[in-house]
Amino acid sequence: MPLSKIWVFGEAADGKVSNTTLELLAKARTLADTVEVVTTAGGDIAAEVGAHGAAKVLTIGGTDGKLVGAPVAAAIAAAVQGGSGPDALFIATSYDGRDVAGFLSAKLDAPVITNVVDLVERDGHLAGVEPVFGGTTNVITKFTGDKLPIFLIRPKSFAAEETGGGAAAVEELGGADAAAPAVTNRFVEEKTGPSLDDAAVVVAGGRGLGEKDNYALVEDLAKLLHAAPGASRAIVDAGWVPYSYQVGQTGKVVKPTVYIAAGISGATQHLVGMKGSKNIIAINKDPEAPIFSVADLGIVGDVHKVMPKLIEALKSR
């Protein structure tokens, strides 16, 4: 079933292409003869995406200082309606990615298959694999109509891989004439230490920590292990730590070498975001907590007792 052409929505920050974009390129390459990147980031990314197998960068201009969802969707819809669209569109489950998918879906009256972690062939069509119930079950969904297949794909579903290809050709994609909200200011939250995206070790805390101040246990342990601190949705919602710490269905998908879950029960919402970790260590006082079903080492005990001892032991090594 090789497709002729797949478009990947390419996201970049400060000229650096996002990891997820490169992951999608790697998968798209195995499914289609030609892979092209649609982006608002400009032609500067041509070398990087070319090295990951993209033949072309289709640039969408005029989105500076605007939210990109509506204009990018307008440009892609114009191409599709003009007959020059792709056979499938891959979009990462990111803030802007979801906007693009939503706007485009309504413009083309085309459904979106969301939360995709793999793509397979079913009945001669590309179908999406999506985990449900915390990743215990997978469903495979295919499109039934003849609209542009739009897939919203989760980060870290595939490994990025260079092909050694040269810089992609750069072309402009017109038709991005849609009104969009103005971005008047950008704020970068300073985070020290490794990021959740690429840390080898992640230490995450949950409601079992009891109160906000106890999150310091997570931070102390993370520092000792050069780990990124993370959090369950429960304590993000409770305002203990910012949203950028959240691991789960909403929030980040992480796949570190070691994931330490402290006081996290393991709600579906959370498991989906960390189940792919190579090794999982869980500390929780409830022996029935679902987190233990994915743990390689599970300690049934009080985080307030285990964590300080663990921190002390690591300090004295």
């Binding site: 939503g102 879906s105 309504a106 969301t114 039934t144 292990l225 080492l297 300690i299």
Partner: protein, 260 residues
């Protein structure tokens, strides 16, 4: 300032969910509750109406079996009224179909200055409905709001980003999706709960909205689940009870993995 909030009534996430063996979609025939993700939008709407010094909050929802228990929770928090679309024809509706229904229901609810949604539901979590809704209503969308302020003609939003947040501005009316946890949803008071019982819920069918049944439900979905399979399970690990020394097991394991 009139604010419409889209809310979903979902199976209690505390109960393990089940797929209908026939349709391979989530069973929704039991009791439904207000999706917690939507309580933040309801709270945000109530605060914005308060700050504006007038106006009301209207709920819009789509649910099977004329379910209102989740709506009553939001009405008890302080919303004034609700439009509920309940119709057997809606079974199997996907995110785009949902957006079509909600768009029509929002128009029926009357002139709104602002439309709030959650960023995604806790049971379907496609996260595409806010932008789909905006496109169908020909309105701008600002998604993932952490903070919302408005002067009645413009809305200013702090929008969550990978790196931090953006300040984003748009003329009203607009669709804004609210990130969970950014406000503290109020607990309904006893008075609120009593008052909610008599607040108006306008229950309508798909046809009342001028929508064709073929645009919603299984027929309109444009996608189909063809297979359900157990995911690969992780090998069972070692679970031990802490005897005061369990921390040493973690140290050993970390050493074995060469991270220390």
């Amino acid at each position: 300032m009139n604010v419409v909030v889209c809310v979903k009534q979902i199976p209690d996430p505390a109960d393990p969910g089940q797929l209908d063996p026939e349709t391979k979609t989530l069973k929704r025939d039991g009791k439904l509750i207000l999706d917690e993700s939507d309580s933040y939008g309801v709270e945000m709407a109530l605060q914005l109406v308060d700050a504006a010094g007038g106006g009301e909050v209207t709920l819009v929802s789509m649910a099977p079996n004329s379910e209102v228990s989740g709506l009553r929770t939001a009405l008890a928090m302080g919303a004034a009224k609700a439009v509920l679309v309940s119709d057997d024809a809606l079974a199997g509706t996907d995110a785009l179909g949902t957006a079509k229904v909600l768009a029509k229901a929002i128009e029926r609810a009357g002139s709104a200055d602002l439309i709030l949604t959650a960023t995604e539901s806790s049971d379907g979590y496609t996260g595409t409905v806010p932008a789909q809704l905006a496109e169908l209503l020909s309105l701008p969308a600002i998604t993932f709001a952490k903070e919302i302020t408005t002067d009645g003609s413009t809305v200013k939003v702090q929008r969550q980003t990978e790196a931090g947040y953006d300040e984003v501005e748009s003329p009203l009316p607009a669709v804004v999706s609210v990130t969970a946890g950014v406000v503290e949803p109020r607990y309904p008071s006893f008075k609120g709960i009593m008052a909610a019982k008599s607040k108006p819920v306008d229950e309508v069918k798909v046809a009342d909205l001028g929508l064709d049944a073929g645009q919603v439900g299984w027929a309109g979905a444009g996608q189909e689940i063809v297979e359900v399979a157990k995911a690969e399970e992780r090998e069972a690990g070692t679970i031990i009870e802490d005897d005061g020394e369990a921390f040493a097991k973690i140290v050993d394991f970390l050493a074995e993995l060469k991270v220390i």
